[in-house]
């Protein structure tokens, strides 16, 4: 998640103090991970340096929390480009899991246990999300559903790999023989 772009987009509604920005971010996006003030101010000073925001109506005293920040035209262009560009699909987890399965097979361990442990962990997290969704408002529901569908996709992969584990073991074995 690009915090810089998020702050820029939040500034489009009008100039704000760093403190208000943090609050807005936490309210809308930070359910799991609220921002630290340090992150807010370091991000804002980077945006300032790059001309994407400017300080307006400086009030008495200094220190970063006295400034109000406004988005610049360059900032708006940047937000637009960010929103329009699709995200690279996340395939990281599968890579780690795939590596673990192969390494378990290579080292003569029970690869099915790797898959079983991961499935149990995924389901446990899915139960927590489902509970949170049932107690929450529409925003909670949408956030949780997004996570739930992703976890479900991982689980399908785990299931499919389970069904093919003997085949994979055989392939890993013949490849290893080819190495020596």
């Amino acid at each position: 998640m690009s915090i810089g772009h998020a702050l820029l987009a939040l500034l489009e509604a009008g100039p704000r103090h760093g403190y208000d920005l943090k609050r807005a971010y936490d309210t809308h996006l930070g359910a799991d991970r609220p921002l630290h003030y340090g992150q807010v101010y370091s991000t804002l000073s980077r945006l300032l340096r790059n001309g994407l925001v400017e300080a307006v109506g400086r009030e008495s005293g200094d220190g970063p929390d006295r400034k109000r920040y406004a988005i610049t035209d360059a900032g708006i262009t940047d937000v637009e480009a960010w929103l329009a560009a699709p995200e690279k699909p996340e395939v990281y987890l599968q890579n780690v899991l795939y590596a673990k399965v192969v390494l378990a097979l290579l080292s003569g361990r029970d690869a099915q246990r790797v898959l079983d442990a991961q499935r149990a962990e995924h389901l446990k997290h899915m139960r927590e999300l489902t509970k949170r969704k049932s107690d929450g408002d529409l925003v909670d529901q949408l956030i949780c559903d997004h996570a739930l569908f992703h976890l479900e996709a991982d689980l399908r992969w785990l299931e499919l790999t389970t069904a093919r584990i003997d085949q994979l073991a055989e392939q890993v074995r013949t490849t290893t023989e080819g190495e020596t």
Binding site: L123, M126, R127, E128, E152
Partner: protein, 234 residues
């Protein structure tokens, strides 16, 4: 999170199926499958298609007799009961929700929900009053006087859940209850089913191959090639 992970070993199980075997000809549908359910808990039975989930549910619910193994429910051994005793037990203690086809097509939705009560000897008026209460709870009052074939899939399934709950069963057996529904209606049915079961203290045996549906359960049991393993790590 509540206290610690519910440990099914702590409480005496209400329903316990132990080392079940069941073959259909050469197909070994169950090959040492076990399942235990404590009062009020929801257990998801998961696994790929053809792994034996439905067979396990049918045996645990006394619909089908396993070739070997034991099914104990509340102090009674189901496998040695007569057919009549087992169907009486199913009618009074259990509720059933299937993927589809469980409602009587000739009856209205209201009559379908009232039916289990009528079969238990309740008179029509009080049975239908009870059914109306469930229709309202599940927000399907406008289906009351329509037949199952004339309402949407989501409504049909809510009526089916109401019918399963109307006798306040202690165990609800649900076999792919959302299998024929889209995501949104599936969510709704799962919410209503789990909420109503929680309110009445009923346990649920929830057969599903969908992880998002299984996530409504307290824990899961995995079936693979007719064998079970529990999914919860310590």
């Amino acid at each position: 999170m509540s206290t610690h992970t519910t440990d099914s070993l702590d409480a005496e199980p209400l329903l316990q199926a132990t080392e079940l075997f069941k073959a259909f000809g050469l197909t070994e549908a169950l090959d040492r499958a076990s399942l235990s359910v404590t009062a009020g808990e929801t257990v998801a039975v998961m696994g790929p298609s053809g792994s034996g989930k439905s067979t396990l549910l049918h045996c645990a619910a006394g619909i089908m007799k396993p070739d070997a193994g034991s099914v104990r429910y509340d102090g009674r051994e189901l496998t040695t009961l007569s057919d009549g005793e087992r169907s009486e037990l199913r009618r009074t203690e259990f509720g059933f929700v299937f993927q589809f086809g469980q409602l009587v097509p000739e009856l209205t939705c209201l009559e379908n929900i009232a039916l289990p009560l009528r079969l238990g000897g309740m008179r029509r008026k009080p049975a239908e009053a009870e059914a109306e209460h469930w229709l309202a709870t599940f927000d399907v009052t406008d289906a009351a006087h329509k037949r199952p074939g004339d309402v949407s899939g989501g409504q049909t399934q809510r009526v089916a859940v109401a019918r399963a709950l109307v006798t306040t069963p202690r165990v609800i057996f649900a076999d792919e209850p959302t299998g024929a529904l889209d995501s949104l209606n599936g969510e709704l049915v799962m919410r209503l089913l789990t909420q109503a079961a929680r309110d009445s203290g009923a346990a649920i045996v929830l057969v599903t191959h969908e992880a998002r549906v299984a996530a409504y359960a307290d824990r899961e049991v995995i079936v693979r090639d007719g064998r079970t393993k529990t999914g919860v790590l310590a």
